[in-house]
């Protein structure tokens, strides 16, 4: 079975641009969460979606948005990119049917120049 897949794996953007990151959860998992990991720190929670509804949001500005599609895949969008948005963006999926164990994708490494 395929694990959590994210695309692209690497991305370079210019300040002020917009970026879209994509995530496909493990088959059968209905919950997708997004995390940002800057160098030297642990991942920080951005969003959680379950059954296409936002169920949680971390302390991130409105430039960050996300959505979940009927097939449970998800997109993370970041507008007006800043240098400080450079990070590894991780997607996690879980079944959320009484078991909340999270499984992570390989991440998208975003560099803003």
């Amino acid at each position: 079975d395929a694990g959590v897949t994210q695309s692209p794996t690497h991305l370079i953007k210019t300040r002020g641009q917009h970026v879209t990151l994509r995530c496909s959860p493990i088959s059968g998992h209905k919950s997708v969460s997004w995390y940002q990991q800057v160098l030297g720190q642990g991942p920080q929670f951005i969003f959680q979606y379950y059954e296409k509804e936002e169920r949680g949001r971390g302390n991130f500005p409105d430039r960050f948005s996300a959505r979940q599609f009927p097939n449970y895949s998800s997109e993370l969008n970041v507008n007006a990119l800043l240098l400080g948005d450079s990070a590894l963006y991780l997607c996690a999926s879980s079944s959320w049917d009484g078991n909340t164990e999270a499984f992570f994708g390989q991440g998208t490494r975003l560099t803003v120049v």
Binding site: S33, L90, F104
Partner: protein, 109 residues
């Protein structure tokens, strides 16, 4: 929100040595997971252990939920064990993992 502290922050071992990594958390949790992050950034699931003890090969983990800590034991360490180990907890809100700062492990041959 819930606070998670990991110790030690850095650890250097000789191959074959044993080690214990600790995770303290500030409130009751629904979920606790241990991860190993490899050099490419992938978070590898080690244990899903909100309470009790589990073992998987050379690794084992114990969570004492009433005392708000978890321990990860690595025995007979190998160079491939090098990397960053993260503890992450899910509080009663149930919709996010809060990560500790990690323990950076280097195993020397």
């Amino acid at each position: 929100g819930i606070q998670v502290e990991q110790s030690p922050p850095d650890l250097i071992l000789q191959e074959g040595a044993n080690s214990t990594l600790r995770c303290n958390f500030s409130d009751s949790v629904n979920n606790l997971q241990w991860f190993h992050q490899n050099p490419w950034g992938q978070l590898i699931n080690l244990f899903y252990i909100p309470s009790g003890t589990k073992q998987n090969g050379r690794l084992s983990a114990t969570t004492v939920a009433t005392e708000r800590y978890s321990l990860l034991y690595i025995s007979s360490s190998q160079t491939t064990d090098s990397g960053v180990y993260f503890c992450a907890v899910e509080g009663d809100a149930g919709n996010m993992l809060t990560f500790g700062g990690g323990t950076r492990l280097m195993v020397k041959p």
